[in-house]
Amino acid sequence: MTTPDEFKGQETAWCPGCGNFGILTALKRSLVETGLRPHEITIVSGIGQAAKLPHYIKCNAFNGLHGRALPVATGIALANHGLRVLVTTGDGDCYGEGGNHLLHAIRRNVNLKVFVHNNQVYGLTKGQASPTSEEGMVTKVQRQGVLSGQENPLALAIALDCSFVARGFAGDPARLQSLMGAALQHKGFALLDILQPCVSFNHLNTYEWYKSRLYPLEEDYDPRDRIKAFARALEWGDRIPTGIFYVNDRPLFEERLKVLKQGPLVSQRTDLKKAGEEIRAFY
């Protein structure tokens, strides 16, 4: 058995009190639950406070460019679908700079587990609005307050028929851990949006703000009904549901790809002789 300690990484550079700590704790515990060893897991991230996480845990890691974690993760998962590939990303990283990749990664349905540390703000760059910032939030750039509509990532994912769509809260690591566990167990692209207080730059959506609003989806809630899931995803106000909103059984991209029937690409060698025969077609 592994223990959370086995996943202990570098020292963190987050602010004291940051919601990211809760996420890191939950993640380590849920990885322990999988029974996997650190080297069987690869964590891909972009750039941001959230995206520093791969350094604070012990796994394989590809800490890439701002917004570009998903294509990297896709490449990894296709080249070696034996690896468990996780993506740890921020609201700016995933819904802002990387928005286009999210759309198409959901469509592809590669077996990626995407954990979005949604603090509704750009943390690392010191507090500009993110796509999930509330309308009206004032920042150094958004002097007049945010004018764009607030993105609802769950509704978006459900519209794209994402295979697994859930919302968690960094302030409740135990429940978060179980959501992460469900995402890890699910076969398919999983989007877990994690509401995360940023004590330095988001003075609107604080621990208290979230705590007074969040409630779990009902026990008997059926996450297979896409239209109901959409309706529940739209709830954002005095009461905000958490839990697994939507799940479907779309086939995995890597299982459909005929080429992968013979095992992970990384262990398939090119038969040069056979490939050489293709030259004949040019005569």
């Binding site: 080297h39 069987e40 490449g75 030259i279 040019f282 005569y283």
Partner: protein
């Protein structure tokens, strides 16, 4: 004998089918062939042509002057007639172009009528046309019939027979003009079939035979040919070809796949390459091997999507923010494209760097006949640490400092060793650092230590022509063929040679061949580039201080033809 045949018409009229079939027949009959295409950025209509040169001797470029024009529409006659050589022939169908042309050069062949009568469908006019051209050249129709059988297999017997009958009817029809056409008779080559291949396929084939396992790209002319080729190979040879949502995703996916342990590649053209700049820099920082094909077309921006240019050389050499090593190959022929793609994969993995194959529409689309490709030169060295070797390592750090600057490249997941890479500056373990000392050491490792080793891998430029020339024509990439022919032509009167760089950056070391000496000794050195500003000349000056005595630049989106180049060279040689 050396004929240039131009097939012209609208997009959608089968220009490519006719031209491609003729080229294939000639190659099978053992002739030397060179083809080039000129087409518009549209699917139907407009005006396109396909030019086939067939000869008993090596041919490596297109000419402006034509021997046979096959006109599928009236515009072809109007546009291309001025280029017809004396005694040349224009084959056309008076019924479809709606007019009968007078003059010795015209030969009306009722393409559609013969198609309907013999094949049963006017769509077979293309087969009639091929048959007619073969008839004019006094070549047998049988090789074409074999090609029909191969390519139309899926369409069934009936279609094949129809096309065969149509083709034979075309040949028979022109035999009625044997007297007039006797002069076009092509003597048998006396040789076996030659290989015929375009640059895009050659790059694809080179990738396949280098063990490329992952190709992610976004469609963009003129790079799409590579993706099409590899997509056709994917299932049979176990590779993944994934169309990404954009070019940013394309390069990042390829980097992910490469990190995970497979040889990976992407391809694009200028606009898409512009979008890949950040990913390129990521490859540099993470030291992730990647091969990138950049097939140029005229810019800026969307430019001329289906034409050719060499205007991205300095963009590739200096692209991506920050400083990191890279290699740029600029093949001049499909053969070079094939071998250099192989070398690209080798160097990318050996030094953990991005390596470029920079081509252009002209290289990508032109077909050349080759003597064959030597598979024995495909030597795959696996530069990664995997399997038992990896398991046995007592410890592992992705960015271990070594004498060469090259750290062991392990496969994540295949042993208990963790593989951590980072786009931030990092330590040997791959974790973020910010201190000055670690930074300096990493810069030295990535850049200074590897650089001389990389440079030593670069082969010298190719010379052709006089050993001790007064005039040297210098170029890189797709101007190879036309420069070579120019040297042949000039060689009769001038002491001239060509110096062609297919491995352009870093510049090759001079140890083996003192090419700068070679240049400095010549009285006249002319840099020939398919761009407006002379980018290679600028690169050479930046690296060596050398200044050319002359420049020939073409930037109208068209390749140099033998005649157009010679004319410009004459301005310098008098």
């Amino acid at each position: 004998m050396d004929y240039s045949i131009r097939i012209g018409g609208e997009a959608g009229q089968g220009i490519q089918t006719v031209g491609g079939s003729l080229a294939r027949v000639f190659a099978r009959e053992g002739y030397h062939v060179f083809t080039h295409q000129d087409y518009m950025s549209r699917i139907r209509g407009g005006h396109n042509y396909y030019q086939v040169r067939v000869s008993h001797d090596t041919v490596t470029a297109s000419r402006d002057r034509l021997d046979i024009i096959l006109a599928m529409d009236r515009a072809t006659i109007e546009n291309h007639r001025p280029f017809l050589n004396k005694g040349g022939l224009i084959i056309y169908d008076a019924d479809t172009v709606g007019k009968t042309f007078e003059g010795d050069e015209f030969l009306h062949v009722p393409l559609e009528k013969l198609a309907v009568e013999n094949g049963g469908d006017k769509i077979m006019a293309n087969a009639v046309a091929v048959g007619a051209v073969l008839g004019v050249l006094d070549l047998p129709v049988d090789p074409f019939v074999r090609i029909l059988k191969e390519t139309l297999k899926k369409k069934g017997e009936e279609v094949i027979h129809g096309n065969e009958a149509a083709a034979r009817a075309g040949a028979v029809f022109v035999q009625g003009f044997a007297d007039r056409l006797g002069c076009f008779r092509l003597k048998p080559s006396g040789r076996e079939a030659r290989m015929l291949i375009d640059g895009a396929s050659a790059i694809g084939l080179g990738a396949l035979l280098s063990g490329c396992k992952f190709y992610s790209a976004y469609p963009m002319t003129p790079s799409t040919g590579i993706m099409n080729f590899l997509a056709g190979m994917a299932e049979r040879h176990g590779l993944i070809v994934e169309q990404a949502e954009d070019e940013i995703a394309a390069i990042n996916m390829a980097l992910g796949a490469s990190y995970a342990g497979v040889r990976a590649m992407t391809g694009t053209s200028g606009g898409g390459f512009a979008l890949m700049q950040e990913g390129l820099s990521l490859a540099g920082m993470t030291e992730t091997p990647i091969v990138i094909a950049e097939m140029q077309r005229p810019g800026p921006a969307t430019g001329l999507p289906t034409r050719t240019e060499q205007a991205d050389l300095l963009f590739i050499v200096h692209g991506g923010h920050g400083e990191f090593p890279r290699v740029v190959f600029t093949p001049g022929t499909p053969e070079q494209a094939f071998y250099l793609t192989h070398k690209a994969f080798e160097l990318a993995e050996k030094y953990q760097i991005p390596v470029f194959i920079q081509g252009d529409q002209y290289l990508g689309d032109c077909e050349w006949t080759l003597e064959g490709l030597d598979l024995n030169r495909m030597v795959l060295t696996d530069h990664r640490v995997r399997g038992r070797a990896l398991k046995n390592l007592p410890s592992y750090k992705r960015y271990t400092h070594t004498g060469t600057g090259v750290s062991p490249l392990a496969i994540p997941g295949s042993s208990r060793h963790l593989v951590v890479v980072d786009s931030d500056e990092h330590d040997e373990d791959g974790h973020i650092i910010e201190d000055a000392e670690t930074r300096s050491r990493m810069m030295e490792k990535r850049l200074f230590r590897k650089w001389p080793l990389i440079r030593n891998e670069i082969s010298p430029p190719t010379t052709y022509g006089h050993d001790n020339p007064e005039v040297v024509l210098v170029g890189y990439g797709s101007t190879y063929g036309v420069m070579k022919e120019a040297v042949d032509q000039l060689g009769r009167r001038t002491s001239v040679a060509m110096l062609h760089f297919s491995e352009v950056y870093p510049l090759p070391p001079e140890a083996g061949f003192h090419y700068m000496n070679f240049l400095q000794k010549a009285g006249t050195t002319i840099c020939i580039e398919n761009n407006a500003t002379g980018q290679f000349a600028r690169l050479l000056r930046a690296e060596t201080g050398f200044v050319f005595s002359g420049h020939i630049n073409r930037y109208d989106g068209r390749p140099f033809t033998v005649e157009s180049l010679l004319e410009k060279v004459h301005d310098y040689t008098g």
